[in-house]
Symmetry: C2
Subunit: 155 residues, 2 copies
Amino acid sequence: MGEREIIAIFVQMAQALGAPRSLGEIYGLLYATPQPLAFQDIVDRLDMSKGSVSQGLRFLRSVGAIKPVSRAGDRREFFEPVLELRQLVAGFLRERLNPQIKEWGVRARALRPDDFSFGALAADDRETVSKRLTKLKTWQKRAGTVLPVVSKLLG
Amino acid sequence: MGEREIIAIFVQMAQALGAPRSLGEIYGLLYATPQPLAFQDIVDRLDMSKGSVSQGLRFLRSVGAIKPVSRAGDRREFFEPVLELRQLVAGFLRERLNPQIKEWGVRARALRPDDFSFGALAADDRETVSKRLTKLKTWQKRAGTVLPVVSKLLG
DNA sequence: GATTTAGTTCATTTTGAATTGAACTCGACG
DNA sequence: CGTCGAGTTCAATTCAAAATGAACTAAATC
C-alpha cells in the first residue's frame, strides 16, 4: 500500500521546512485518500492523539493547505487537501515568514550606530558598523518585496 | 551596546528558518563586529562550547555565509561575515533545500498508482489517486526550477 | 434535560535536535 | 622528541518543541 510512502514523503517535506511531522502526516494522509476524511478518521488511521490532530488541522486550515467540506446529514466536518502548490506556499509565507520579516524590520530600524560606541571605536570601524546596519535594513525590505513574487512564480 | 540586539535579530532569523540558534549567534556576532574574529574569540564572547562553535563555523562556511581571512604572523583563522543576501540565500538553498527536493523527486517517481489498490477502490478513486501522484511529481519539478530563480531575484 | 458525539484546550510528558565537554588530532616551535 | 595552541570529533546530556491525554465546551439527539 503506497499510502504510507506518500505520508512519509510529506513528513520529510514538513521537516525540511521546519514544521512538525504531524502536519506532514495529516496532510499526507488526506493527499493519499481520494475521499475527504473526518477528524476521527484521521485520529484512527494515523493513531495520533486528538490534541495533535486538532492543532494540526487548525494550522493546515489557517495556511489554506486543506479545505473543510460538509456532507448532508452528517454533522462532522470533512477535510480534503488543497492541491495547488501556489496556495500552499503562499499560505506558508503569509502565516509564517511574513510576520517574522515584519518584526525583523521593527527591530532592525530600532538599531542606532551610536549604541555600538563602547570604549574606543575607531572612525573606520564606526563606518563599517554603520554600513552593516544599513545593509541589514535593506535586506529586510528586499525580503518583503521578494516573497510575494515567489508565490506568484509558483502559481 | 547594540551588539547583543543584533545577535538577537539573527538568532530570531535562524529560528524562523529552522536553523539552530547557535548559527544565528555566531553569524550575528561576526556581523556586529567590524574586525574579523578567530575561533577562540567567538567561544569567549558568546560563552559557547568549542564543539558548537566548530560545527557552527563549518556550516556557515559551507553555505558561504562567512569567509575565512588570514593574518600575517598569526596561525589562527579569522572569520568575517559575507554581507550579500544573495549569497546567503543561494548557499542555504543549495546546501539545505536542493538535496531534499532531489530526494522527494526520487521517492515521488517511485510511487505507482497500483500500490493503492488495496481492497475495492472504485474507478474514479483510482483516477483521483493517479492524478494526485502526477501532481506531486509536477510539484517536485517546479520547485527545482523556481529555487534558482529566487536566488537570482535576491542578487 | 440527560446523554452522546464532535472537537478544543492546556498542563504534563516525551522525544529528538542542539549543545556540551572530554578525548583526540595535527602542526608549530623550542 | 615533548608540549603547547588551535581546532575537531563524537558520546552523553540538556532542553525546547511537539505529542499526549484527561478535562472540558458546544451542539445535536433522544
